[in-house]
């Protein structure tokens, strides 16, 4: 509702403003160009964020101080805390980092944003910045049109910086011209009332522009020409810092639980820092004056003093929060848990997929892989119960013959119900997410994604085959005919072995073990195929099973074969292809179908 009213209201206000004041038009255009520059800059950095950034991230966020440093450096380089926040949410969602590291990055990003104020106050307002903007735009646009990804990325970064500089130029010019007609400083309000009013304006401006960086640049532009007073500018800066958390909270509404927790941390951090700043305003101003005098900032240079204030205020907040980060994490984990957000039903939903991960192809690939593993975990449960086996026995070292003897249930489990609650929804979401992710991916990534989609289909097919297999399996594994009973129990044993091996593959780091178990699984699938190895013919010829039993056995062995093949294919994609060491060689190191036949032929001969 609010959104429906907000947008038209803003448009009407802007239109009226443009009509009455050409200078206001220039300032607004400056803000618009600046924001467009930020978007372009973000686009450019995204090109370089695949792979390398993740590696740096994992190495540089294992300690809180490193996370803070990472947040500071990335924000200072990218000049966008919102991009860093989005990336952090997607990194947490993909399981690359934990909430503690995420909070560290956000704290660092807060300090990183202060570099923008320094750049603007120290450089942007003192030189003819548009002179730098023009060549950047020209070179940037030429590079954007190139096919090579890296050149395109550099092009976006250059054009982004060009637009940022151009935006600053228009804002500055607009305010200078505006001063001749209207003196905004005459509307300044002093005291606590003024502080609160201007904090409110800062919040609104940031929510509207969706960028505290843009608000601070606007404040500095207005302050440099004396359109606002120094005291009011300080209040606006605090407001901008609160406003940015509202943007983050709104953004997190569509994200997963990790995104919500991070936005919660961001909100608590900025609100508490703002409250402390308001309470100790006079002391902070005193500290700003002292520091400014110490570093040689002129008494009337309010823009640089504002940069000092911005830095002091944010560094103070970070220092204040560092001892409480763990407590904050515990608090957020307790208050924002999956139970509090999910209704009480048995339907399982996606754990890792969230729209923020769509921003980067490497992250979207990582979350799809994780979600596929999650889907497999559910499928593992269904297949195990469908085979009337107990999960904990399969993952233990219990001899397989014993595993087969220990039943899960006396009655058949409802696989359809399991499928609807634990597979269907997640599978649908993975396919939907993959389709969305594909549009941001390069052809080589799409190929990998295609394999992942096939792995998901394999999992679903394996579950469906289990459903078909279950009916006769329950019936004949307890049959009085020892021969058919033995065949069905062998089928259960072989599938239990496969499930056990996949479980080991999923948890080991030893590449040779992975390759051995998967090659073995391939070999056994062929070896135990009773249609191919002549067992079925033998049973029929000797009249050991009835015709009905033989038909069931033939059909069901095909289902069992299908389950094995599908699970092996899935394991190849999600465990072998995703292993950093085996990525490019795993496929060639596994034994081929021809080699399987060679081994089996050798066995027959001996």
């Amino acid at each position: 509702m609010l959104r429906k009213i907000l947008l038209p209201s803003i448009l009407v206000i802007l239109a009226y403003g443009f009509w009455v004041s050409p200078d206001f038009k220039e300032i607004s255009a400056g803000v618009a160009i600046f924001l467009f520059g930020m978007l372009t800059l973000e686009e450019g950095f995204k090109v370089f964020s695949g792979g390398t950034l993740e590696k740096i991230l994992q190495k540089s966020t294992n300690k809180l101080y490193k996370s803070i440093g990472f947040g500071f450096v990335t924000t200072a380089i990218m000049q966008s805390s919102s991009l860093v926040s989005v990336l952090t949410i997607s990194f947490i969602g993909a399981g690359l980092i934990g909430l503690t590291q995420g909070i560290g990055i956000i704290l660092g990003a807060n300090i990183g944003t202060t570099t923008g104020a320094w750049l603007m106050a120290g450089f942007g307002l003192n030189v003819k910045i548009s002179a730098y903007a023009m060549p950047m735009l020209a070179f940037g646009v030429i590079l954007i049109f190139q096919k090579a990804k890296s050149l395109k990325g550099i092009g976006y970064i250059l054009a982004g910086l060009g637009f940022l500089f151009l935006g600053i130029h228009y804002m500055k010019d607009g305010f200078e011209a505006f001063k001749a007609t209207v003196d905004l400083a005459s509307f300044s309000v002093g005291g606590l009332k003024g502080l609160l009013i201007y904090i409110g304006i800062g919040i609104i401006a940031t929510v509207v522009m969706q960028s505290s960086h843009a608000t601070i640049v606007l404040i500095l532009a207005a302050l440099s020409v004396g359109q606002i007073t120094y005291e009011n500018a300080l209040a606006l800066t605090i407001g901008a810092n609160i406003g940015t958390t509202i943007t983050a909270v709104i953004g997190s509404l569509s994200s997963n639980i990790d995104g919500k927790r991070l936005a919660g941390a961001h909100f608590i951090f900025n609100i508490v820092t703002a409250v402390v700043a308001v309470l100790f305003m006079s002391q902070i101003i005193y500290a700003v004056e002292t520091i400014s005098a110490f570093v040689g900032i002129a008494n009337d240079n309010h823009t640089l003093k504002l940069a000092v204030f911005d830095t002091l205020f944010k560094v103070m907040g970070v220092l204040m929060f560092i001892p409480f980060v763990d407590k904050l994490v515990n608090f957020l984990n307790k208050t924002l848990n999956t139970k509090s957000l999910k209704g009480e039903n048995n339907f399982d939903s996606v754990k890792y997929l969230n729209d923020s991960a769509l921003e980067l192809p490497s992250i979207s690939m990582a979350v799809i892989t994780k979600e596929t593993k999650h889907l497999y975990e559910n499928a593992f449960e269904i297949i195990t119960h469908g085979l009337n086996l107990q999960r904990h026995n399969i993952v233990s070292s219990m001899p397989l013959d014993e595993v087969v003897n220990k039943e899960y249930s006396k009655v058949a489990v409802d696989i359809d119900d399991f499928y609807n609650k634990k597979i269907k929804g997640i599978y649908g979401e993975i396919i939907d997410f993959s389709t969305k992710a594909q549009s941001h991916m390069a052809p080589e990534d799409i190929e990998v994604l295609y394999k992942l989609k096939l792995a998901n289909r394999d999992i679903v097919e394996a579950v469906k085959d289990t459903k078909h297999l279950q009916k006769n399996l329950i019936k004949y594994s307890k049959s009085s005919n020892e021969h058919i009973k033995a065949q069905y129990n062998t089928m259960r044993r072989d599938l239990a072995e496969l499930l056990r091996n996949i479980n080991i593959i999923s948890s080991t780091d030893e590449e040779d073990v992975m390759l051995m178990l998967l090659s073995k699984a391939k070999l056994h699938t062929k070896k135990y195929d009773i249609l191919a190895n002549g067992t079925l013919d033998n049973l029929i010829r000797k009249g050991l099973v009835t015709n009905e039993m033989a038909t069931s056995l033939m059909n069901d062995s095909a289902y069992a074969y299908g389950i094995s093949k599908n699970l092996i294919e899935m394991a190849k994609v999600i465990f072998i292809d995703n292993n950093s060491e085996l990525k490019s060689i795993g496929e060639d190191m596994l034994i081929s179908d021809d080699e399987v036949n060679t081994i089996l032929d050798q066995k027959e001969r001996t």
Binding site: L151, E511, D512, L515, S519, E581, L590
Partner: protein, 81 residues
């Protein structure tokens, strides 16, 4: 010179292609070492075991490992040529 050619020559002159190849070679060599160690281990326990079923299983593993080592060597040769 087209941009594509420029990038290609830049990666060649910087040795980035070789870097990728070297990484692959290193992975194969590491894996081959592990496989050979394992082969030796299995061969040793094969001599010790008397149980027919266990022997059969170990023999099967040995067959698989031999093929994997053969495949690994082939990949390495290809990379070296």
């Amino acid at each position: 010179m087209s941009i594509k050619k420029f990038i290609q020559s830049a990666t060649e002159s910087l040795g980035l292609d070789d870097l990728q190849k070297a990484g692959k070679k290193k992975s194969i060599k590491n894996l081959l070492k592990k496989l050979r160690d394992r082969e030796e281990e299995i061969a040793k326990s094969l001599k010790k075991k008397s149980d027919k079923k266990e022997k059969k299983e170990l023999k099967e593993e040995l067959d698989i490992i031999s093929l994997q080592i053969k495949n690994g060597k082939k990949i390495l040769e290809k990379l070296n040529s």
